[in-house]
C-alpha cells in the first residue's frame, strides 16, 4: 500500500476483511500518538495517509471533522487521538499503558489534559506570532510544571505510560522549534529531568519506529509557515 497522501478526487482504498486501518498524516503530532501506541503493541495495521489541505471527499464521510488520526476496522470508525489510543490500549494491550487502576488512570489523563498548556505556546512559537521572547517564556513556564511533576523515569512511572506517548510528539519537534526560534527550547540546566526523560523516550522501540528527523520536520513545516500547500510526501522514496 502506497504511503503517498491521498487528496481530493482520490478513491478510498477498499478496506479488506478485518484489517485495522489508520488514517494519518506523516507529520501530524496527534496522529503520531496513535502510531506510537500501534508500534508499542506491535498491532498489525495498515496506514492510509491523507492530504489535510486538499481533503478527499470520502475522508469527510469517515470523520466529519476531517482530522487525523482515524481508526477503521470493518464497520467501526473511531477518531480523536485520546479516544483512539484508549481503545487500542484496551483491545490490544489489556490496558497496560494506561493501567486499569482508576486513580492512576485519572492521574495520567489529567497530566495529558494539562499538557495542552504546553501545546498552545508551542504553536504560538512555531507560527512566530507575537513577541518571540514572550512565546519562549510561556513555553518554558508551561514546561516548568512538567519538570516538577516528573518524579519517575517516565510520567507513567517506571515504565512508559500512555501519557508519555501523548506528550512525546511535541518534544520530538522541540529541536525544530529551537532551530526556528534561535532559542534553546529545553535547556538542560532548567529541565534536567525532562532532558533525561527525552533520552529514555528516544530509546524506546516505538519512538524509533514512529519518529521523523528534525531535518524532515523542517522541510515539511517550511511550506506550512508560508501558507503554501505542504508536500505531505516529502522524504519518501
Amino acid at each position: 500500500m502506497s504511503e503517498k497522501a491521498l487528496a481530493t478526487g482520490s478513491t478510498c482504498p477498499p478496506l479488506k476483511g478485518n484489517t485495522l486501518r489508520l488514517y494519518s498524516m506523516r507529520f501530524c503530532p496527534y496522529a503520531e500518538r496513535t502510531r506510537l501506541v500501534l508500534a508499542h503493541y506491535n498491532i498489525p495495521h495498515e496506514v492510509v495517509n491523507v492530504n489535510l489541505k486538499q481533503k478527499p471527499e470520502w475522508f469527510l464521510e469517515k470523520n466529519p471533522l476531517g482530522l487525523v488520526p482515524v481508526l477503521e476496522q470493518g464497520d467501526n470508525i473511531i477518531y480523536e487521538s485520546a479516544i483512539c489510543d484508549e481503545y487500542l490500549d484496551e483491545v490490544y494491550g489489556k490496558q497496560s499503558l494506561l493501567t486499569s487502576e482508576p486513580f492512576e488512570r485519572a492521574r495520567q489523563k489529567i497530566l495529558g489534559e494539562r499538557f495542552n498548556k504546553v501545546i498552545s505556546p508551542f504553536y504560538s512559537l512555531l507560527r512566530q506570532s507575537g513577541d518571540l521572547n514572550e512565546a519562549v517564556n510561556s513555553l518554558h513556564k508551561a514546561l516548568d510544571v512538567f519538570e516538577e511533576l516528573l518524579t519517575g523515569k517516565f510520567f507513567g512511572g517506571n515504565t512508559v505510560g500512555l501519557v508519555d506517548y501523548h506528550m512525546w510528539p511535541w518534544f520530538e519537534r522541540f529541536p525544530l522549534l529551537s532551530g526556528l526560534s534561535g532559542a534553546d527550547i529545553l535547556p538542560a540546566n532548567r529541565f534536567p529531568k525532562l532532558n533525561a526523560w527525552v533520552a529514555h523516550m528516544k530509546a524506546l522501540p516505538a519512538v524509533k519506529t514512529a519518529e521523523i528527523s528534525t531535518e524532515l520536520h523542517g522541510k515539511f513545516i517550511e511550506k506550512h509557515l508560508k501558507n503554501e500547500i505542504p508536500d505531505y510526501d516529502i522524504g519518501m522514496a
Partner: protein, 251 residues
C-alpha cells in the same frame, strides 16, 4: 442536628476547609454548574456515598486553587487523592463504582459513546452560551448550530428506538447531555428563544420525559427560576451561588 442547608453555602476566599475523611468521597461543586451536575448525576445514580463542598467560583479559596490548578469544578477528593476535569471525574466514578454500568462494556461502543460526548461539548455546549450574546448574529449562529445537533440527536434516538442514548437504561451519554436540556426552559425565560418547540423532535422530547423520571435527575434538579436568577446574577458580575438556600440565621 446538622443544618444541611447551611452546609450547602459556598465557601469563598478566606474560608477554612474542614479536612476530608479518607474513605468518604468529597465532591467540590457549585450548585448551578452544569459540568459539576454531570458528576452529581453519576454519584446519585450509582448511590455513591459522598459529601459536597460548594465553592465560590468568583472569590476562589486559596486551598481550592492549590488542589485544582484550573480552579474549576467538579473536583473529587477521595482516599487522599484529587481528581479534576469533568469527564475524567465521571470516568473515574464509572471505573471505581462499576454498578450500575454507565458506559458500554464493548470497547468500540464505549469509544463511540466517548465520541458522542466529546462532540456534544464541542458543539451544543459552546453554542448554548452564544444564545446569551448581545450580538444577534452570534445568537442566530448559536441557535442554528443547536438546531442541527438536536436534529441529529433526535435521529439517533429514532433510529435506535431506545429510551435513552445508551440503550434501554440510561448511561453516561444521557447524564452528559442532561444538564443543558434542563436549562433550556431557563434560556427561554432569559431570551425568549424556544429551543425545543412542542411540536419538534418527538424522540428527543420523549427522552426528556424519560430523563425527568429518573431518580438521579429528580435529586439533582433545581427550579427553572433559580437557573434564570443565577444567570442574571452572572451577567451582573456578582454571581449568587447560594440562590434558594435559607438565609443564614443572624447570630
Amino acid at each position: 442536628m446538622v443544618d444541611t442547608k447551611m452546609s450547602e453555602r459556598c465557601l469563598r476566599q478566606g474560608s477554612i476547609l474542614a479536612p476530608a475523611t479518607f474513605d468518604l468521597l468529597r465532591l467540590y461543586s457549585m450548585r448551578f454548574c452544569p459540568f459539576a451536575q454531570r458528576t452529581r448525576l453519576v454519584l446519585a445514580h450509582k448511590n455513591i456515598p459522598h459529601e459536597v463542598v460548594n465553592v465560590d467560583l468568583k472569590y476562589k479559596p486559596t486551598w481550592f486553587l492549590e488542589m485544582a490548578p484550573y480552579g474549576l469544578v467538579p473536583v473529587i477528593e477521595y482516599k487522599g487523592k484529587v481528581i479534576y476535569e469533568s469527564s475524567i471525574c465521571d470516568e473515574f466514578l464509572e471505573e471505581s463504582f462499576p454498578e450500575p454500568r454507565l458506559l458500554p462494556s464493548c470497547p468500540f461502543e464505549k469509544a463511540k459513546s466517548k465520541l458522542l460526548m466529546h462532540d456534544y461539548d464541542k458543539n451544543l455546549v459552546q453554542s448554548f452560551y452564544k444564545l446569551l450574546s448581545r450580538d444577534p448574529e452570534k445568537r442566530a449562529k448559536g441557535l442554528m448550530s443547536i438546531a442541527e445537533k438536536l436534529q441529529q440527536y433526535d435521529s439517533i434516538l429514532k433510529r435506535q428506538k431506545t429510551s435513552f442514548f445508551q440503550g434501554d437504561t440510561c448511561g453516561m451519554v444521557d447524564f452528559h447531555f442532561w444538564p443543558w436540556f434542563e436549562r433550556f426552559p431557563s434560556m427561554t425565560q432569559l431570551t425568549g428563544i424556544e429551543i425545543l418547540t412542542s411540536s419538534s423532535h418527538p424522540s428527543l422530547r420523549k427522552w426528556i420525559r424519560n430523563m425527568e423520571n429518573l431518580e438521579a435527575v429528580k435529586k439533582t434538579k433545581y427550579p427553572i427560576e433559580w437557573y434564570t436568577e443565577f444567570t442574571m446574577s452572572l451577567a451582573q458580575r456578582e454571581p449568587n451561588y447560594d440562590i434558594g438556600l435559607q438565609a443564614e440565621a443572624k447570630l
